[in-house]
């Protein structure tokens, strides 16, 4: 049950790319942080919610050939590091793409997809993946 509670707390980040913005220096963090590592005590308890843009471009990528059971139906697949239009780096799976078309600078968009589940009777975990934009 501990994992259900943890997953539940992460929903704003995993569905809506909700991160944190430091009100002191303006830096944005994803996933959420309770404190800005640069401003430290000054930012404690003041971090603001910040919704990261769902659009961006591929900064770097890799093709995965050996996949965990849940994603094995999709293999081989691409994992990408995306620089969002507001400059945040987020990594995730890139789907609905022909692997030979994946390239650095490719415009992508975050969508909601099934990430995993806890077996046929368990909770289904949804979260962001990227698709070509």
């Amino acid at each position: 049950m501990a994992s259900i509670a943890k997953e539940w707390r992460e929903i704003p980040g995993r569905y809506n790319l909700e991160g944190s913005k430091c009100p002191v220096c303006g830096k944005v963090y994803f996933p959420k942080r309770g404190i800005c590592p640069e401003c430290r005590r000054e930012s404690l308890g003041k971090m603001e919610d910040y919704s990261v843009s769902r659009e961006g471009e591929v900064y770097s990528f890799s093709i995965v050939h050996e996949a965990p059971a849940f994603t094995s139906k999709l293999k081989p697949y691409a994992v990408v590091m995306v620089r969002t239009t507001d400059g945040i780096m987020i990594s995730g799976q890139l789907v609905d793409v022909n692997l030979e078309d994946v390239r650095i600078g490719m415009p992508v968009r975050a969508v909601l997809r099934r990430i995993s589940d806890d077996g046929p009777s368990g909770v289904i975990h949804y979260g962001y993946k990227f698709v070509p934009n």
């Binding site: 809506n16 909601l112 949804y126």
Partner: protein, 350 residues
């Protein structure tokens, strides 16, 4: 108070399979089957897609087109489907969270075979019209299953569309809605059964045709209209053949139904079918266009809508999300083996 459509969004997965390919596996002339049903191909969801993700994609497109609408002003979210991922645990709460509408709102999942989406639109109209909510969201989406080898396997597909219902800044006014409902056992699925059952030939005349023509005639009588008064008509489309025939029975022409008839290229999206057909019409609609809509859900019932497009559609930010023509580009054909893998039809080790 005028109630109608403030915005809409639509989504269909990119994968396709043809009746010919399905027939190849079962030793059936799939090409003839497809021709008879008027289905050239059907959509197939990716293994990481389901009604939650399809409904969310449609709803996010709907919200992207009206950046001025605060999602916190949405008072209700209804998702109609016969393939909700959970038997118990709503789809609608997940979708509501994903568009930022939670927590001051109500939500529920609806089920009425293929008309649960239009039932949701009616419920939103009631809540908006009574002043209980400012905006309501109604979504019809499905990832329907036909039993392997069954006739339904050639048509059952995936897709969905979302509607933001309100009373201000409408791109289309819903002039009237009414329904025709009876207890008719033409199609069903018992709890715990993976695939639906159907009454074979019984699914035609006493079910689909009787309910749609009855609701449609009631609507035209109530509004004092004839088919000539409408620019477009959208009918439930379990295949391409039924809506074409029902349109002719009612006196609508092929020109009126073509834009809203998607089944030949995407298959039967069940609860998504009429919402998607209407979305395809709204993708090209101009101010003053009048749209006639009649859904059908087995069990059985039909919801009819008389809709007029407003001047606001000219400034509506349709381009902020993909039109159906754009969504339906770049499709990928699957062979039956990959289709079976994607649709969980291959027995996997525990």
């Amino acid at each position: 108070m005028e109630v109608g459509i403030v915005s809409y969004g639509a989504y269909v997965p990119r994968y396709r399979i043809t009746p010919e390919e399905i027939g190849r596996v079962w030793g059936v002339n799939g090409k003839a089957m497809g021709k008879g049903l008027f289905i050239n191909q059907k959509s197939v969801p990716s293994p990481d897609e389901d009604v939650v993700t399809i409904a969310t994609e449609a709803a996010r497109g709907m919200m992207a087109r009206v950046p001025e609408v605060n999602p916190e002003d949405i008072g209700c979210v209804y998702v109609g489907s016969e393939s909700h991922p959970y038997a118990v645990k709503p789809t609608s709460t997940i979708v509501a969270e994903a568009i930022g509408a939670t927590p001051a709102m109500t939500a529920a999942d609806l089920e009425f075979a293929c008309k649960a989406g239009t039932a949701g639109i009616q419920m939103c109209m009631g809540l908006v019209g009574s002043g209980m909510v400012k905006y309501g969201v109604a979504i019809g989406a499905d990832t329907s299953q036909g039993a392997p080898g069954d006739a339904l396997e050639y048509s059952a597909s995936a897709g969905g569309a979302a509607y933001l219902i309100g009373s201000e800044d409408l791109i289309a006014v819903i002039n009237k809605t009414l329904s025709f409902t009876t207890d008719t056992p033409d199609f069903w699925r018992r709890e715990g059964q993976e695939y639906p059952s159907h009454g074979g030939r019984f699914t035609g005349e006493p079910a689909y045709f009787r309910h749609i023509t009855s609701a449609a005639r009631m609507m035209m009588e109530a509004q004092g209209t004839t088919p000539d008064d409408y620019d477009y008509a959208v009918f439930h489309q379990p295949n391409g053949k039924f809506p074409t025939r029902v349109a002719a029975q009612l006196g609508f022409t092929n020109e009126q139904i073509t834009q809203g008839l998607l089944t030949p290229e995407i298959g039967n999206t069940y609860s998504g079918a009429v919402p998607l057909g209407l979305a395809s019409v709204l993708d090209v609609a101009k101010p003053g266009d009048r749209i006639f809509v009649t859904s059908y859900g087995s069990g059985a019932g039909s919801d009819a809508f008389d809709i007029t497009v407003t001047d606001r559609i000219s400034s509506y930010k349709r381009e902020k999300a993909k039109t159906l023509a754009q969504v339906m580009e770049n499709t990928v054909q699957l062979d039956y083996a990959k289709y079976a893998l994607y649709k969980n039809k291959i027995l996997m080790p525990e």
